[in-house]
Symmetry: none
Subunit: 189 residues, 4 copies
DNA sequence: TATGAATGAGATTTCATTCAT
DNA sequence: TATGAATGAAATCTCATTCAT
């Protein structure tokens, strides 16, 4: 896990906020600098250019999520079903907590191929896939292609958190999503 | 359904291609004009400004999909299950046919709120929701909150078409997705 | 001889004036644009960047001089001595006429090697060398290494025009320089 | 003769090298500092600002040359002719020894008027002029305007050392230049 | 004395948009 | 209707200089 200095963190936080709320080209570096209470030049001390800052923001946000999930999954003594429920809840919590998270994550998921990103995404999907496969082994789940399923799950958490149906209740969504997934993965008999 | 002149169509096609492959701010109007074999000024005869062109591109692409789906659903004499399978197949066909489609749709789905877009998206979700509700009525489906489910379905078709797992087979995906959804929606008994 | 459009010429003239009077980094493109009565962006229509504009200015100035000299030298029916006198007079006239010329030429003569520049300089020296060699053939001159001499001549015209001794009289300088060169090149007997 | 501390010398040497090889505005103080193995702030302990450093570099280089020449000229018992030959040889040795020297000198010689520089240049020209005048008095030379000639001589040494003709031989150049000057200055009879 | 992270004024450059043709 | 040269506001980015350590 990359380490960030205090100032770097402040810049990333500020930029995350701004990139989440406006289109890339509407975010001015001078505004970021001002909001982060640093000089414009300081940004360039930490990030090569605007693109680089943008990617760093997304990457950090995504990494935090993946790390959280990995930690959850690595717990001993919990069943694949519990892990899967955890994944859905952690992901949706992460995104509902801060609109910023959802919007940024959403962009990551669309990112131009490029080693680093591909890897991170694959990491996320890999974690989920592992849980499904573990469940298949224990007989809790049945899935002819866990690779597909592992992509479905983040995608609908994202969809709901970006376009929350009116009057959305977080708990209600988690329950529905878990139920949906568990039914879909339930062994035929 | 809006009608477009030949030149307008050429511009929209070109722009669609470009917006699908690059971020908004990386797409230069001069490039669009050149690629569409029209003068830069001509773009402004058909579209108010860059944003307007962008919206027009997304809107057209999205409308085509929604219209296709609506046509499918309006067929008489087919069951909700058949309709649902059709939705999944039509959507994924639409997106697999042209990468452009998938990428553009993806943008629409993430579009900052804004009346027009909200409406268009709601239209898509509404179509799917209707089918689910119809299925619930006939007893083919069971779903505690069809509104959520109607968002899940486009989201994972999109995810798979933007990030196709290596060696992806279209038919295999459709089969898996249908199966996944049908199991998830199957009445408990 | 390269052709320049009216606007291009206006830009080059303006820029020449400014580059001659100030250090490169003190010349602002916004000032150039303003003084040339064109938009800042227009500069970039004609010149790739600031460096490119600078080089174009120098190159044009230098080319004009070389062309003038070549024309003079190509005259029929004049002796090498007359040609040499012409060279010295043309060069010093060119430089005394406009301080701009002298200063710009001065920079050219120091220019980072680079095909184009090397070639132009070599062209200038080549012209002078030819005249000397012609004179050697006719017996008017004697010179063990015309290649050296052809570099001496522009160098002192330049020196005097950039740092004119107090109360310098142009004609006096030409006379002195010609006399100096002719004596130096005079056959021993 | 100014004295420089060890660190100051290191900075000046480094900067000399860099200013000789690149245009003023391409030389970054951070590069100078790094190459001189001092902190960027340290430069400001020794030099008021970038201009000041630049001037110091040129000034030191020029002073060394002028001092060398003065020492040579002040020798007793050598004729003006010998002095002149010495001047040409010392100057060209100085410049051929290190390309840096030639380039820097070249800058000095082109420096925008400014008291200090005017004085330094005048000092160089003055030395040469004295020798010529001494020669005129002894009847060894003849020159209607030694002030001009004293500018010619440094200028062509400079020209040759900055743009050495292919396959240049130092000794050959000195011999040619001396011969050229001596013929030009030879009394008519 | 020595440092180099931080600064921000101000430079270069871009590109959506206009408008004369 | 069609064009693309011209524009200049506004963006990104640089780098000499400062200053807390």
């Amino acid at each position: 896990m990359k380490e960030y200095s205090e100032k770097e963190t402040r810049i990333l936080d500020t930029a995350a906020e701004m990139f989440a709320n406006q289109a890339f080209h509407k975010v001015l570096l001078s505004d970021v600098a001002h909001a982060a209470r640093v000089g414009k030049g300081t940004l360039y001390l930490y990030f090569k250019n605007k693109d680089d800052l943008y990617f760093a923001v997304l990457f950090r946000g995504f990494s935090i999520l993946v790390d959280t999930l990995r930690q959850h999954i690595n717990q001993k003594n919990i069943s694949p079903t519990e892990k899967m429920e955890g994944i859905i809840r952690e992901m949706s919590t992460y995104m509902f907590m801060k609109a910023t998270n959802a919007h940024l994550l959403s962009r990551v998921m669309h990112f131009p191929e490029g080693g680093e990103w591909q890897d991170k995404r694959t990491e996320l999907w890999g974690l989920i896939q592992e849980v499904i496969e573990e469940g298949v082994e224990t007989g809790e789940f049945e899935d002819s292609c866990p690779r597909f399923t592992s992509q479905y799950i983040p995608s609908f958490v994202r969809s709901i958190s970006i376009f929350p149906p009116e009057g959305l209740n977080h708990e209600e969504f988690c329950a529905h999503a878990c139920n949906f997934v568990f039914k879909a993965l339930k062994p035929d008999r």
